[in-house]
């Protein structure tokens, strides 16, 4: 697909890999890390959880799509559904207002089990879709996502139909109440950073390189001894793990889950986030997510402020998406890369 520019791993990479080397190459990372760490000292709870917390959760789900699409060439629309599946399982195994359904198991049983089930779900979706290419992968994964949506909507015995589960409590563990904003912010930050670093690391491992090989030329990969189908399914499993962890955080973040959480709208939103941010590097997913969350949160007020109907906020999001894709097929990352290239040219001329 033209809109998914192939993800690149740095050609002039340092021998081996270390966190230190990455930070040396991008000094801005220090600033970003420091900013994210001290944010709770001056930001309100709203900014912590509803802006940055939410953006990092959506960013993780978009990251799982970026891994599949950017490194594997597979545009999967099922990643939000995998997160939704994990969220539902947390609500079902844990505690919620639906005491008839929720089993009330402790978090250390329910959460790992939820993640395992969501990973199985994501892997099976992969099994169904890896033999297809391009637009057909999108269609099959969209079909799975829709099926999950309608199933949760119509099933009352397990998924409680339209209303889903409310009052899903973030647990108290290790003496910390993870529901209070600052600990919850650090919990999300920890998992988002971990997911990011793991994806960056895996892209340079034999598994990640081989995945990029199947993206560039699947037939040649088979002619080098790789089982392309198995490799792609494994990539779905890996991506599902990231999406599942994000799904657990998502249900704790909102305190509720219902069919709409993973409806067609949010499923497409994840695609928009990944494309707007750019799929050539893992950081793009988080850039796209923060832009999406800011637009989503403030577009309504911005419209009202200039005297327009606040209900048209989706229009603003759509326009932003259109402009970015129009001017840069590789999203914000592409704009950034072009700006850097122009700077370098100017320097050379000066």
């Amino acid at each position: 697909m033209a809109m998914v520019e192939a993800a690149r791993t740095d050609a002039t990479r340092p021998e081996g890999w270390s966190l230190a080397a990455t930070f040396q190459a991008h000094p801005a990372l220090w600033l970003l890390a420091a900013f994210m760490l001290v944010l709770p000292a001056f930001a309100s709870n709203f900014v912590l959880i509803e802006i940055f917390g939410w953006a990092m959760i959506l960013g993780m789900i978009a990251l799982s799509l970026m891994f599949l699409a950017g490194y594997g060439g597979m545009v999967s629309l099922v990643q939000m559904t995998v997160a939704g599946c994990a969220g539902y399982m947390v609500a079902i195994f844990g505690t919620s207002v639906m005491t008839d359904i929720s089993l009330g198991w402790p978090w250390w049983v329910g959460v790992p089990l939820a993640i395992v089930i969501a990973v199985i779900f994501g892997t099976l979706s992969g099994v169904l879709s890896v033999r297809t290419e391009g637009i057909y992968t999108i269609m099959i994964t969209l079909a799975i996502a829709s099926a999950f949506y309608y199933f949760t909507l119509q099933n009352y015995t397990i998924f409680n139909g339209f209303s889903g589960f409310n009052a899903v409590r973030t647990p108290v563990a290790f003496g910390v109440d993870w529901r209070s904003p600052v600990p919850f912010y650090y919990l999300i930050l920890f998992w988002a950073v971990l997911a990011y670093l793991v994806v960056v690391y895996v892209s340079r491992t034999p598994f990640g390189l081989a995945l990029q090989g199947t993206r560039d030329n699947a037939r040649r990969m088979a002619a080098l001894g790789f089982n392309v189908t198995a490799h792609r399914v494994a990539a779905y499993a890996f991506a599902a793990l990231i999406a599942a962890i994000a799904g657990v955080l998502l249900v704790w973040h909102g305190g509720q889950i219902s069919p709409g959480t993973a409806g067609v709208g949010p499923v497409i939103d994840i695609l928009i986030i990944a494309v707007v941010g750019g799929m050539s590097r893992p950081i793009g997913a988080f850039i796209g997510a923060i832009i999406y969350v800011i637009l989503r949160t403030f577009a309504l007020d911005a419209l009202v402020a200039v005297g327009l109907d606040g209900k048209r906020f989706q229009l603003l999001i759509g326009l932003g998406f259109l402009l970015i894709v129009l001017f840069s097929p590789d999203g914000i990352l592409g704009l950034w890369a072009r700006w850097r290239a122009r700077q370098r040219n100017n320097d050379r001329r000066a």
Partner: protein
């Protein structure tokens, strides 16, 4: 997959032909790209497959590697029936191939392309551990890059290489691991005279136990690197023999050079 016992396979390795095709046919709809091809190649044998465009040479390669499975017939590789094996299973048994149009990983660097080739025929294809500085496979990848004179560009993206360099990388990918038999599909296509000379050196200096089949239009290249020739025409094997026999064969001259000019 018909699994052979270890003893059967061991005994087969010593005695069997490298390649044994019996009545291999490949249909594309109603079109027969290959018709009843029977071909035997000894271990270590080096053979050219000649023929005009559309003679079925590349289809023959695709059937041997399993890129396109054959419609009927059997294919044995060192005694083992691989007819119904997927391509990667045949490659893991020591078969290799190159492509007429370079089939490389353009988004990866040269060294990563070769590293993938080395990894594909060894264990740890799903490994989540990064190769260390003195990783054995990374070392063999570096050696291969050196063997095809690409050390200077090893960290460049393949998309940035010249055509000739891409053809050399194409060959490096086929030499990874421990190949027992290699299919070269027009390795000299688009190469300069100097690069052709280098190619001949690479082919003739392969260890003697590695046999190959080479599809090549350039007779100067083909006849200098092989000991036997198979002529194909319209999806069938038309003639087999030593290079000089084939060259002087009146029927071949008729077909290859056009009637009346020979």
């Amino acid at each position: 997959m018909a699994a052979l016992s270890v003893a059967e396979r061991l005994s087969a390795v010593g005695t069997a032909n490298a390649l044994e095709l019996r009545g291999v046919t490949r249909l594309f709809g109603a079109l027969a790209a290959l018709t009843d091809v029977t071909l035997t190649v000894r271990p270590g044998e080096r053979r050219a497959v000649l023929g005009s465009n559309g003679a079925g040479k590349t289809t023959l390669f695709n059937c041997i590697t399993g890129d396109f499975p054959s419609t009927s017939g059997t294919i044995r590789f060192f005694g083992e029936d691989v007819t119904h094996f997927p391509p990667h299973e045949r490659i893991r048994r020591g078969l290799r191939r190159t492509y007429q149009i370079s089939a490389l990983f353009t988004g990866l660097s040269v060294i990563d392309n070769v590293y993938l080739a080395c990894r594909g025929v060894s264990r740890g294809r799903f490994s989540l551990i990064r190769p260390s500085r003195n990783d054995a496979l990374m070392n063999s990848a570096e050696n291969l890059v050196q063997a095809v004179h690409l050390t200077a560009v090893k960290d460049q993206l393949v998309a940035e290489l010249s055509h000739g360099q891409q053809r050399q990388l194409e060959i490096a990918l086929a030499l990874a691991g421990a190949p027992r038999f290699i299919l070269f599909d027009e390795p000299a296509a688009g190469l300069s005279p100097t690069e052709r000379a280098e190619l001949i050196v690479i082919l003739t200096s392969l260890p003697p136990h590695i046999g190959y089949i080479v599809i090549e239009h350039d007779m100067d290249v083909a006849l200098r690197v092989v000991e036997s020739v198979t002529m194909m025409h319209n999806g069938r094997i038309f003639k087999e023999g030593r290079p000089e026999e084939i060259e002087s064969d009146p029927e071949v001259q008729e077909l290859y050079l056009g009637g009346g000019h020979g």
